[in-house]
């Protein structure tokens, strides 16, 4: 990114030629800077939030006898920087962050970054599978509904997508678990792979990819099997959301003059549909998909709780309820960061798909 972004960072007014050459680069730089500022804001929010907590980290960490000795308490506070004024504590915290130090979890007594490295891939695998399913099904349903506007399929899909966004995720997870695992026994139980199997060698942390890389096909099929039910439960909301948005986006494009012109020109229906209708409709859809990913990350907390999926959601829940501050802050940072990256990717895709964004 640095060579292309250089013109706008030199401080000199960019020449007319360079301005013409890299509108996308300048657009990217602006986006990245905004994202970095937001990331700084996220650290501030997590820091403030965790300082609002009424619980006292000293009493949570030291034993009864140590607590009775003021010297030990003072020493512990000094060791952890707690005797300094809050702004200074924040700067210390930021300084640690730059070196990848997220503090130590009070529950696991391990660095938070190590904990997160264990839990984040599981959630990414789950959320990734869910967003993939949602994009494919949501866009397909939405296009279909738009093409059959005001006829039976449209009405049925409208009701179904509204049901999709209305179901309480935690309840659906429970119902799915009860019916498909407990009663019908067509899906495997909780966790990421069958009990007794060992995890594939760590490459990406995603069991499906790692097992495929290692050629362990039994682990691979087990990982896929375990992924299906929670991913589908998680995806239902976003499928509903994307169906509704795709439908209206496609309807909007269908009414455009250039679509009528393409039809009048005698272009085959398939070409009109994919090149003239679906591509421009993708622009708003991608924005919504980015937002949908955020709601997926929210949903994982609830779905992971039911399916005992060892992901960030479970970790966040455990840390939040036990007031494990460094862990909570770490989760907030990582999840907020992932969300920022997704939004950045969405903005960039936006620019790639719609030339008007780049030029303006």
């Amino acid at each position: 990114m640095s060579p292309t972004s250089a013109p706008s960072k030199t401080g000199k007014a960019p020449s007319r030629a360079s301005r013409k050459r890299s509108p996308l680069a300048r657009f990217l730089v602006r986006r990245v800077v905004t994202a970095l500022l937001l990331a700084l804001g996220i650290t501030l929010v997590t820091f403030v939030l965790t300082n609002l907590v009424p619980g006292d980290p000293v009493s949570a960490n030291l034993g009864q006898r140590a607590l009775g000795d003021p010297a030990i308490v003072a020493q512990w506070r000094a060791d952890h920087g707690l005797d300094k004024p809050l702004p200074q504590q924040y700067l210390l915290y930021l300084g640690g962050l730059v070196h990848g130090d997220l503090g130590e979890s009070q529950q696991s007594h391990r660095p938070v970054s190590e904990d997160l490295a264990d839990f984040v891939p599981a959630t990414l695998e789950l959320a990734g599978a869910a967003i993939l399913v949602s994009l494919v099904l949501g866009v397909a349903f939405g296009v279909f509904a738009a093409l059959r506007r005001d006829r039976l399929p449209d009405h049925v899909l409208r009701v179904l997508s509204l049901v999709g966004i209305s179901v309480p995720t935690f309840w659906l997870a429970l119902v799915a678990f009860y019916i498909f695992f407990y009663r019908l026994q067509v899906t495997p139980g909780s966790g990421r792979i069958d009990p007794g199997m060992t995890a594939p060698p760590h490459v990406t942390g995603l069991y499906t990819i790692d097992s495929a890389l290692a050629g362990q096909w039994d682990v691979f099929s087990s990982a896929i099997g375990h992924l299906i039910a929670p991913a589908l439960v998680l995806a239902l909301y976003t499928i509903g959301l994307l169906t509704r948005f795709t439908r209206s986006a496609v309807l909007e494009v269908l009414g455009q003059d250039y679509v009528r012109a393409a039809r009048a020109k005698g272009l085959p229906g398939r070409v009109i549909l994919f090149r003239y209708v679906v591509r421009p409709a993708l622009v708003p859809i991608i924005t919504v998909a980015g937002l949908a990913f955020g709601s997926l990350l929210s949903g994982t907390v609830l779905v992971e709780a039911v399916f005992a999926w060892p992901g960030v959601g479970q970790y966040a829940y455990k840390s939040a309820t036990t007031l494990d501050l460094p862990a909570v802050m770490g989760v907030g940072l990582v999840v907020g960061g992932v969300y920022l990256i997704i939004n950045l990717v969405v903005d960039v895709l936006y620019g790639v798909i719609d030339p008007r964004v780049r030029v303006s």
């Binding site: 939030l49 509204l162 309480p168 119902v175 709780a305």
Partner: protein, 296 residues
């Protein structure tokens, strides 16, 4: 005031009141309306309708649905039907309160941001961006945990994540009308900023915000019951739906304990989403025409 009402109508493209009657005849809106009203009646009349005391533990434990207890009983021998009915008194008023508060707070902040611009705009909207940067459940969970687990704190936590949506929408709408002639001429006539906001700007903003609020009732209820499901909301004896589903996890075999409160949440959320979806169509001039054509 009359003249202004006309102006408002021309701005949103046909008046809101004229379009509502057709919207109400849509089957989805009818279904949503009936279910929503039914739940409100249940909430109001729960003491009359419920066959048992929702807290009394005097029935056989974990009895499957049958006569005497149509929705079965839970692990403490309480009647699930009565608890679901009383649950409406917990969840529905809190959800409505939550949405009203987010509309007021978010709407006011958004209007201030859009109308005054400059640093007010920057401060408020960057704050909103920050909230948007977190997934709602995780942020609400952290806030709820930080404040301590209780239903009031859960409401506050949801409020923290809910207001920015209204701020964004209101700001955009206010920006759209701020430069209009009738607003400027009001200011030239000597309206104060607040009077101008209230009399000239606000009426042009209410429609879309109303739609958002209706659709948001469902989201708010899902989030609130989700927090309770995680144990960060209602406390045990309270018949809150999310907490009831959570208690059903412990007695997995007795499916009725979790199923019925879940269905209650689903039907309430669905009802308001049906209403909100129809409202949105009615307020969108393009789809509104389609509704009118079919209604004739």
């Amino acid at each position: 005031m009359k003249r202004r009402a006309g102006l408002r109508g021309s701005l949103t493209g046909g008046s809101l009141t004229a379009r509502l009657p057709e919207a109400w005849r849509q089957p989805l809106a009818v279904a949503g309306g009936v279910v929503a009203v039914a739940w409100i009646v249940v909430a109001l009349a729960a003491p009359l309708l419920a066959p048992h005391d929702p807290l009394a533990q005097d029935l056989p434990r974990l009895a499957p649905p049958g006569s005497g207890h149509w929705f079965g009983t839970d692990q403490l021998g309480r009647d699930v039907l009565s608890r679901v009915m009383y649950g409406a008194r917990v969840s529905i008023p809190l959800t409505l309160l939550l949405v009203v508060l987010s509309v007021l707070i978010g709407g006011l902040l958004g209007a201030v941001a859009g109308y005054f611009g400059k640093w007010a705009d920057e401060t408020i909207m960057r704050l909103a961006d920050l909230v948007f940067a977190f997934p709602t459940v995780i942020l609400a969970m952290v806030v709820a945990a930080a404040l301590g687990a209780s239903l009031t704190n859960a409401v506050l936590a949801v409020l923290v994540v809910a207001w920015p949506a209204y701020a964004r929408v209101t700001r955009g709408l206010v920006l759209g009308v701020r430069g209009r002639e009738f607003v400027v001429s009001g200011r030239l006539l000597g309206f104060s900023a607040w009077r101008s906001l209230r009399v000239d700007v606000l009426p042009n903003v209410t429609g879309p915000v109303l739609v958002l609020a209706t659709l948001d009732i469902g989201t708010a209820l899902l989030l609130l019951s989700g927090l309770s499901f995680l144990g960060l909301g209602a406390k045990p004896p309270s018949p809150e739906w999310g907490a009831m589903v959570a208690s059903g996890v412990e007695v997995f075999d007795s499916w009725w304990v979790a199923t019925f409160p879940g269905l209650a949440i689903l039907t309430v959320v669905l009802a308001f989403n049906f209403l909100g979806d129809t409202l949105r169509d009615a307020l969108d001039p393009r789809t509104a025409r389609a509704i009118k054509e079919r209604a004739l």
